[in-house]
């Protein structure tokens, strides 16, 4: 019991440390760049004078670096103040992000279940049929798909199922300009717009889960208890799922958290291709408009999402594997 406690404490301490580093990075990066980018926050060319003066005062931009840092901490942590978006002034960065975040959470939430699930399933099959044609097909496809650019696969899917065979909408999260009769219609519309992006994220992200699960399966299949199960005359499917897969899954679970950052990357590209109005598309727009405050806040927000996902994965791991060595 005490070891579980110390494990959790260690993980919380690590997450806190990561968060602190994130805070510091987010402060340093704009200030360490050439050409006085602290001024980026108060860009005279893009914001009206009153906003510039107000930002200078709140963020202590005319004062020493220590005072700037304290102001930055106060504004970021207490007031969630990231300044104004250049493009959408007078909308603040925070308001903008909050408009976009729900869509990204929806996409990420679904994709972070479908991606590992699909990858692990293929890995189990591939490991079970190792050396056979099925295995060869799965592993070689996985390897090719691993080398495919995220956004390209999304574009190909969009071309095939949006343009050539128009069964899915060409983008956005809901049909623009349509007022929905009732909630049900709205949900159906949202789901229809989600399917292609989810398939795109899943297909670009599943491969590493497959390869790891496959290797873990092969290792597990060499264990004596599998031989015992076979000798007992248990049906193949039962051995595959109950005996081999269950144990092979453990190394994969830790990976789910580690790869969550990649799912975030996948969603940035996918949202860009499908004009899906989440944080990823916002990042793309911010790059085009040199909207630095938005870029910075988006990085901050996505990092926090990943840190939280790591904590959740740790808890899941504790539940899944009671033998875990708390190291």
């Amino acid at each position: 019991m005490s070891s579980i406690k110390s494990f959790i404490m260690r993980r919380i301490w690590f997450s806190t440390l990561t968060f602190i580093i994130l805070l510091i990075l987010n402060f340093i990066i704009p200030r360490a760049m050439p050409g006085d980018p602290a001024r980026i926050l108060v860009n005279e060319y893009q914001l009206p004078m009153e906003a510039v003066n107000q930002l200078k005062a709140t963020f202590n931009l005319d004062k020493s670096i220590q005072e700037q840092f304290l102001a930055y901490l106060r504004e970021t942590l207490l007031h969630l103040n990231f300044g104004y978006s250049y493009r959408y002034y007078p909308t603040t960065v925070w308001e903008l992000l909050m408009q976009r975040l729900p869509w990204t959470i929806l996409l990420l939430g679904v994709a972070s279940i479908t991606t590992p699930a699909f990858g692990i399933l293929l890995g189990i099959i591939s490991g079970w049929r190792r050396g056979k044609k099925t295995d060869l097909a799965i592993t070689s496809t996985s390897m090719f798909i691993w080398a495919i650019p995220y956004f390209w696969l999304a574009m190909v899917l969009l071309y095939l199922f949006g343009y050539l065979i128009p069964i899915f909408p060409l983008g956005h999260a809901v049909t623009p300009g349509v007022s929905h009769q009732n909630l049900f219609e709205y949900v159906v519309d949202v789901l229809r717009h989600m399917i292609l992006p989810i398939i795109a994220i899943t297909l670009t992200g599943y491969a590493s889960y497959t390869l790891i699960t496959r290797n873990a399966m092969i290792e597990t299949l060499m264990e004596d208890y599998i031989l015992t199960a076979e000798a007992k005359g248990l049906p193949e499917k039962k051995i595959m799922l109950n005996h081999a897969a269950r144990n092979a899954l453990l190394p994969t679970v830790t990976m789910v958290a580690l790869r969550f950052g990649f799912i975030v990357s996948g969603s940035i590209y996918t949202e860009t291709v499908f004009s899906y109005p989440g944080v990823g598309l916002l990042i793309y727009e911010a790059i085009t408009y040199h909207d630095y405050p938005v870029l910075q806040a988006a990085f901050f927000l996505l990092s926090i999402t990943v840190i939280l996902a790591n904590i959740i994965a740790d808890i899941v791991y504790l539940i899944v594997d009671p033998r875990v060595k708390y190291t």
Binding site: M33, F144, L158, I287, I307
Partner: protein, 289 residues
């Protein structure tokens, strides 16, 4: 002992060993094909990729097999020239990333103690942050240039290899032959670089080659988001324009297909070589196939 022999094989007959492996052979042929393309781009491309040679958005024709882009440049010529950026970024980032990763990993694994704790914690944090948003942020602030892309991808991409090298070094450090090197009075520096490094070289090589694929994909991704070097033709940037100028809705599939397929093909080639090297370095994997 086997590892020592392997590093000898790798030093002397790396190409021969690769050619004996079917995966390695295919990968090598594809890579050589693209290197040839990059080197002779000025000679073999039918047009200057920057020159406006016809009306914008022209569909494929006999003189322009892939058609023209949104400002009337020949897409096939762009494609041929684009191989340069991918190869340069791929090789440079893999090289510099490996250099940093191996050095950090060796120091961390060999010295242990507080140095190791701090470095390991640092790598954990580096890997815990979502890399793409951080890379985008850095690239956006630094401004779009090939050098900046290589710089950002290199300093962000050494965590994985450092971790592997550290683990290997940690186990090698305890072996008898390292002990005996210490006994005959070799310095730490000599032991790290002359004894330990050659022993983990095969693993490093495989990882480095796999890193090339990662770097090619990252560069393409940054260019696709509009952070690429505007003075160089790259596959990612071709896709950026294809996407922002709605090539898909105009039915211009070849404009989308060609650059993406090239990235995937080159990426797969390095993957194949990497996994072939892995098989050569780890006979255990080889036996299972």
């Amino acid at each position: 002992m086997t590892k020592l022999m392997l590093s000898k094989i790798l030093e002397n007959e790396i190409v021969a060993a690769l050619l004996n492996n079917r995966k390695g052979c295919v990968g090598l042929i594809i890579v050589i094909f693209f290197i040839f393309m990059a080197v002779t781009a000025d000679i073999i491309s039918p047009y200057n990729p920057w020159e406006i040679v016809g009306p914008p958005y022209s569909p494929p024709s006999s003189s322009h097999p892939l058609g023209l882009n949104d400002i009337g440049q020949d897409i096939l010529s762009e494609l041929i020239h684009g191989s340069r950026v991918s190869l340069i970024v791929g090789f440079s980032v893999a090289f510099f990333g490996t250099l940093i990763g191996v050095t950090v990993g060796l120091i961390s694994g060999y010295y242990g103690g507080i140095i190791d704790d701090v470095i390991t914690r640092g790598i954990d944090i580096l890997l815990a942050l979502p890399s793409l948003p951080l890379i985008i942020l850095l690239a956006a602030y630094l401004g779009p240039s090939l050098f900046n892309i290589i710089f950002v991808l290199s300093i962000m991409g050494w965590g994985g290899i450092a971790r592997i090298v550290r683990a290997q070094t940690l186990s090698l450090r305890e072996r008898a032959f390292v002990e005996s090197c210490k006994a005959i009075g070799m310095s730490n520096f000599q032991i790290i670089f002359k004894v330990i490094l050659p022993n983990i070289f095969p693993i490093i090589l495989a990882e480095t080659v796999l890193r090339v694929t990662g770097a090619i994909l990252s560069e393409a991704g940054l260019s696709f988001l509009g952070l690429g070097d505007p003075t160089k033709k790259s596959w990612g940037m071709m896709l950026y324009y294809a996407n922002s100028r709605f090539a898909i809705f105009l039915g211009r599939w070849e404009w989308v297909f060609a650059p993406g397929f090239s990235i995937a093909l080159l990426g797969t080639a390095f993957c194949l070589i990497g996994s072939a090297l892995d098989e050569i370095a780890n006979p255990k994997i080889r036996r299972e196939r």
